[in-house]
């Protein structure tokens, strides 16, 4: 057999193998929320940021019990000073109870009600200071979780805790 013939045999075999793997994965896919990819268990060993460096608001975290995965939603805004003005901050959400901690990916959204921002141009990209995060809580250990931000600053990560709590029952 020439190399070309082997190649013609190997490529379809790999593709079919991948295809059957994918097919069996989705066939046996049961009760797994896509938002699970946004939440990851971590160990917190970073230092805490002094209060006042960042300005934020976390608006009453809620859990949607109508949702079969008990999807929680944390919404709010987070800004940091950039010279004379304020701008969006690069951060992830942190949840921590006494026993475990999780990092949750946040999605940004435009906010027109953050007083610190110059809102003369409603189309400004700087107004994307809002955030929201969604994650399933059904599999999370019950308890009270502190809500905070894992902020990336000059290549280093640090944690800013808010006063908000999320109760998972």
């Amino acid at each position: 057999m020439t190399v070309r013939k082997i190649w013609r045999f190997i490529v379809p075999s790999i593709v079919y193998l991948l295809f059957f793997t994918m097919l069996s994965k989705i066939y046996f896919h049961q009760d797994k929320c896509s938002y699970e990819q946004d939440i990851m268990e971590i160990a917190i060993n970073t230092h805490t940021i002094e209060f006042g460096k960042y300005i934020y608001d976390v608006e009453d975290p809620t859990i949607d019990f109508d949702d079969p995965f008990h999807l929680a939603q944390v919404r709010g805004w987070l800004i940091q000073p950039k010279g004379e003005f304020y701008g969006p901050a690069d951060a992830d959400l942190i949840l921590a109870s006494e026993t475990s901690a999780y990092k949750v990916q946040m999605y940004s959204e435009k906010r027109l009600d953050v007083y610190y921002m110059d809102q003369s141009d409603p189309n400004s990209k700087d107004l994307f200071v809002g955030f929201f995060a969604r994650f399933p809580t059904k599999q999370l250990p019950a308890g009270e979780y502190k809500v905070g931000f894992l902020i990336k600053e000059n290549g280093e990560e640090s944690v800013l805790w808010s006063e908000s709590l999320l109760c998972v029952s």
């Binding site: 066939y27 896509s34 938002y35 949702d67 995965f69 999605y107 009600d113 003369s120 969604r134």
Partner: protein
């Protein structure tokens, strides 16, 4: 008179003069038409980029008085917008002072209110365009107080309190007559200068570059025609930046609750990002539709060039442009149907070009996972193509591909038919609530709930729909007859032309007929679904694509004659009837997803109702 009205008048006048000159043979039609086209394009760009502004402005002061009536809770002021001549305009520039923005409304709150940001002043000065009928639109509610509007030494105090949230319009006095006159003269002068420059530019460009331009356009005229028509349809019927809730629901319908029908697209989308914002989805749909029609135009251009007769080439372009099935995805904001057609075209290319045949069964599975009913209208034509090629070339690879593909289809269809739907463990409302959490746009309850319906429930729904819309449905099917007539003529002509050349075996003939009929099982799906236009569109699309496949395979050269008579000796020549059918569809518009969503059928039904008094 608005700028737009003047623009339309100028445009119509130019068209009239040009037509007059062409009829009287006083000018070169090609040159004049190119000037007109260029003027139209330049006018559109100019209007979009620099609408003629107001040249003079009045300064209007708005002062929050920090006073309220007895019923009001607070003395806040909420300024929404400005309207000039009852037309809402952009928010005026603030020349002096500062309030703050709250959800798109410019607001003022007393300094004692901790929510008031720093640096806000009590009064602001706005730059208002000179004119008449100017109004400031405030938002009145229980928290609103008094505001003073000062202009030209006149002060008006307005109470913005309202028991219910409502708009309160405050009239700004008219500008001085002298100023209005100066402003209008400046606007008209600018208007004429802009148009003079545009006309002069268009004439110069046409004189210098018309020849080269025509050569360039002439080289890819079929592609350009189809793509331009497609873009007009996308602009006219597309809902960008909005999403249609029903169609968009499928983009988040995933496998979170287990392996379900029509979940692949949603699974791919939510795996890329679990949250799908409305804006990103709308942009994706827009980019996808433009790319789809661009690639389709290139494909169409390549296919029609196989025909030697120029008239036949244009007939095919006209047919694709006029058929309602070509653009059914656009008003529906890209329902996943478009991906089925894309995959069908890819399968056709693979089979026709004899490349990557081994991947076709995988494509079958993907097609089926996007929409399981495709086993009735997408899979059979591809199988028929494989059978046709097997009969023609006697090569085993075609039949092996067909058998493996069929096995995949049977396997997946059996899963969907006989396996318990995992979503039955949940309420439909729970599923909709969860899927809504994935979407930044509203999703449709029925679109999601219908996926858990059994076949008997589907038939019940069809019966209910039919009893409500039986006349619209009947009109729709009548409306469809010319399309099937055209497909019949096309396939019959192709068959006759192919059959003339040499002696064919019975098996070869059967394989061609199988190809021509392979889309017809789409009617089976219509027993359990009310989306007749969708399935008819699939059917028409598969018939057209299969016809192109056949023409390409056999290099059938069609001919055209401007004759209405149907004679047996000339059954291999297309006459004007197919053209008439294309023009019929061009005039009466496109299909909606359901017969009650097909505008022409609904209008006919309304007309009949009025006529019959029902």
């Amino acid at each position: 008179m608005s700028y737009m009205t003047v623009l339309v008048c100028v445009f119509l006048s130019v068209i009239s003069v040009v037509l007059f000159l062409i009829i009287k043979r006083r000018a070169d039609a090609g040159f004049l038409m190119s000037v007109c086209l260029l003027v139209f394009i330049l006018e559109t760009i100019t209007f979009a980029l620099c609408p003629i502004p107001s040249y003079y402005y009045d300064s209007v002061q708005i002062k929050a008085l920090n006073k309220k009536n007895d019923q009001a809770i607070k003395s806040e002021v909420f300024l929404e917008s400005l309207s000039v001549g009852e037309v809402a305009t952009s928010f005026p520039e603030v020349m002096d002072g500062k309030w703050f923005w709250l959800n798109g409304i410019y607001c003022w709150r007393p300094a004692s209110d901790s929510r008031q940001p720093e640096g806000c002043t009590e009064s602001i000065v706005l730059k208002i365009p000179v004119g008449t009928e100017r109004e400031l639109i405030f938002h009145g509610n229980k928290w609103s107080g008094f505001v003073e509007i000062s202009y030209d030494k006149q002060n008006d105090v307005i109470d913005l309190y309202s028991e219910n949230s409502t708009q309160i319009r405050a009239v700004i006095h008219d500008s001085a007559n002298r100023l209005i006159l100066k402003n209008e003269l400046a606007r008209i002068l600018t208007f004429f200068i802009i148009h003079f420059v545009i006309f002069a530019g268009a004439i110069v460009i046409s004189k210098l570059y018309l020849h080269r331009f025509l050569l360039l356009v002439g080289y890819c005229k079929y592609e350009v025609t189809f793509f331009v028509v497609s873009m007009i349809i996308v602009i006219k019927y597309g809902l960008f930046p909005n999403n249609l809730a029903f169609a968009s629901s499928f983009y988040v319908n995933n496998y979170d609750f287990g392996f379900v029908k029509r979940g692949l697209l949603g699974e791919i989308v939510t795996t890329i990002s679990p949250y799908v914002s409305g804006d990103s989805l709308a942009y994706f749909k827009l980019v996808f539709s433009v790319t789809f029609y661009f690639l389709l135009s290139i494909l169409l251009g390549r296919l029609v060039r196989h025909q030697r007769d120029e008239k036949i080439r244009w007939f095919f372009v006209l047919m694709i442009c006029s058929f309602p099935s070509t653009y059914i995805f656009i008003p529906d904001t890209l329902r996943p149907d478009i991906y089925l057609i894309c995959l069908f075209i890819i399968c056709t290319i693979f089979v026709s070009k004899d490349i990557l045949l081994w991947i076709v069964p995988i494509l079958f599975s993907i097609i089926l996972l996007i929409n399981e009913t495709s086993c009735m209208y997408i899979i059979p034509p591809v199988l028929a193509m494989l059978v046709y090629k097997f009969v023609k070339y006697k090569e085993k690879k075609y039949i092996i591909t067909a058998v493996i593909g069929s096995l995949f289809v049977v396997f997946l269809s059996c899963i969907f038919l006989f396996r318990e739907n995992p979503r039955l463990h949940y309420d439909d409302s729970q599923i909709v609530v969860h899927l809504q959490n994935h979407a930044g746009f509203p999703i449709n309850y029925t679109a999601i709930a219908a996926e858990t319906w059994t076949i008997s429930q589907q038939i019940q729904n069809t019966a209910t729909h039919m009893s409500l819309h039986y006349r619209t449905t009947a009109i729709f099917f009548l409306f469809l007859i010319p399309a099937f007539l055209l497909m019949g003529i096309l396939w019959w002509t192709l068959y006759k032309k192919w059959d003339l050349r040499q002696l064919r075996t019975g098996l070869q003939k059967y394989s061609v007929w199988l190809l021509a009929m392979s889309g017809l099982p789409a009617f089976v799906v219509m027993i359990i679904s009310v989306d007749y236009p969708r399935y008819c569109s699939f059917l028409l699309s598969t018939l057209i694509i299969s016809a192109f496949f056949f023409i390409y395979e056999e290099n059938v050269q069609l001919q055209f004659s401007m004759d209405l008579r149907i004679r047996k000796t000339e059954s291999t020549i297309l006459n004007v009837l197919p053209i008439a059918i294309c023009i019929f569809y061009l005039l009466f518009g496109m299909f909606g997803s359901s017969s009650s969503g097909t505008l022409m059928a609904v209008k006919m039904d309304d007309f009949l109702s009025a006529l019959l008094g029902t």
